[in-house]
């Protein structure tokens, strides 16, 4: 399954799932509180100047900067 870390710039997708990498993954928890929840639409609006990292993501009316390791927790639905 594709994750947000591999979604190319200017592409949109729908979140399938946010996975925790540890038992108490505060980063995954925080992602959820910021609105990265299943069913939401995300779009990569920019990638950093070096090594395409970090990425800037639009989620509804907000924008967030994420590193690849954070974005990799967000799994995306396969395009239909």
């Amino acid at each position: 399954m594709q994750t947000l870390a591999t979604l190319p710039k200017d592409h949109e997708a729908i979140i399938a799932d946010v996975t925790s990498v540890t038992n108490t993954d505060v980063i995954a928890l925080r992602l959820g509180e910021l609105g990265f929840v299943p069913g939401e639409r995300v779009e990569v609006i920019a990638t950093g100047p070096f090594g395409h990292e970090p990425i800037a993501v639009r989620l509804g009316t907000s924008r967030f900067a994420l590193r690849h390791s954070e974005a990799a927790r967000i799994h995306l639905q396969d395009p239909k």
């Binding site: 910021l34 924008r63 900067a65």
Partner: protein, 611 residues
Amino acid sequence: MSISQPRHIALAGNPNCGKTSLFNQLTGSRQKVGNYAGVTVERKVGFFNTPRNTPIRVLDLPGAYSLSSTSPDEDITRDICLGRHPAEQQPDLLIGVIAASNLRLHLRFLLELKQIGRPVIVALNMMDEAEKAGLTIDVEGLSAALDMPVIPIVSLHKQGIAPLLAQLDAEITPPSPLPENTNFHVEVRRLIEEFVKQPATPRERLTDQLDRWTLHPVFGPLILLGILFIMFQTVFAWAQPIMDALGNGLNALGAWLLAPLPDGMLHSLLADGVVAGAGTVVVFLPQILILFLWIITLEESGYLPRAAFLLDRVMAMAGLSGRSFIPLLSSFACAIPGIMAARTIQNPRDRLVTILIAPLMTCSARLPVYTLLIGAFVPRHTVLGFMNLQGLVLFGLYAAAIISGIIAARIMTHGVASQEHPLLLELPPYRRPLLRSVALGLWQRAVMFLSRVGTIIVSLNVLLWGLSSFPLPPAHAAGAAIDYSIAGRIGHLMQPIFAPLGFNWQICVALIPGLAAREVAISSLATVYAIGTTDDDAGDKLLPILSSQWSMATAFALLAWYVYAPQCISTLAVMRRETRSLKVVLGAAAYLFGLAYLAAFLTHYITLKTL
């Protein structure tokens, strides 16, 4: 339970919801900024009266995304909202501030506030932005569904403030909480679907258009570099005429005030100790204010997180994340708020390293030292037609400090294992900075600076005047009187240590009071030279004295010294309080003094050989 006369209220909301501008609108200048006891999260309290004259004490809580906190700032917000804070009582009423233009994110936190069981007034902020985006919000319907009064406001323009104040006089009951296991995201989606009408094709927002350029992989870094470059050019070029005028005015004022006094001890004390000392420092007020004008404007406009985005990889080279950028940038104003701002970094190792390199970022107190020495030793050439050589040298000093900071952080983080350090940073919409907030910030800075001049700087100069004047030289002594004084002797004693750097004994004397605050070094030089010469107005003529008495190598070595030296005791004290470790502070002082000595030595040596 209902409360008819709330006295303690608090503003709560997400970061970037416009909470602070609402706070400024409510309280004006009736606010106190300090810290919560024990921690260094900023605590803002203000006072105002409602239309019916109920006195209100309002707390501006740190912005939070949720009550399950992940940083010390959010801890404070959670503890106060839930009534768990040891020193701050639970507010009688909360004002939940949400941005109408970003309901999807902000409503979720509002629902958490609703569960607390205290009355909540919702300030639906940024209605103008929502309108521009083509949103129509059914405010009454939303208010009924939330079971809380909702007041639409535009905190930037005072719009809606009067109804909000009136609502504070009304009787408000706490909202009935949602059932225990409600999914807040589902509830937020339902509320938006029911009460917010969005245009079929969302209009492209200004922020998205701007981000296309500012986050662009090529143009983004160029824009950032351009902004920083212009910032340092203006700090030097714009401030100069104002500083010259201020300096002349102060000299005239000093001369006029002292004219009626006969020559003697008292005249010397006032002229050499107070006027020469304070005057040389006050002159730098315009420069410091221009620097702060930039930092506050960049902060208010929403650009800073973009800079953190662009620089994340650069910070990663230093073993840190883009999050460290914001504390480090505010260290350019002063390392103290910078070290405190490091509290927003969740990763403990990143936080410690950020604190350790914060003193390397060139704080505004170094500006007087830099400006004086650059003014005396660097010609005022124009380079490439538009750049000022003096501004360029200043930019170079800043660049040297930044590069050293990156290298130092790299060394410190090398081989130290750490948990993942998240970036996870919101990029808020761009906003035009509110003139009122900028002016208020500058005013607070100016007061802080001038009260420092009035207290620490003047008293140290008087002390230094005493040490430089006594004991009096024997009746038929040869040489200057200051050579016989305590300060003169200390300076001569220290001089061998600093001789390899090209420092003369006057500089050595000035370095000691310079420990209290860097800019005191300048006023101390003025005092030492004023007493050391028979010329009465030496204070006004520090610049020509320096350029005639010091070699280029000495001046550059002193500049290099000030790039690194941890001269300001308050910075070390804050570091001690923040890290709770004396070992860390001693280590930091040792590494910074070591670097300063090395850099000054090399600079002196290289300048001597090449010029």
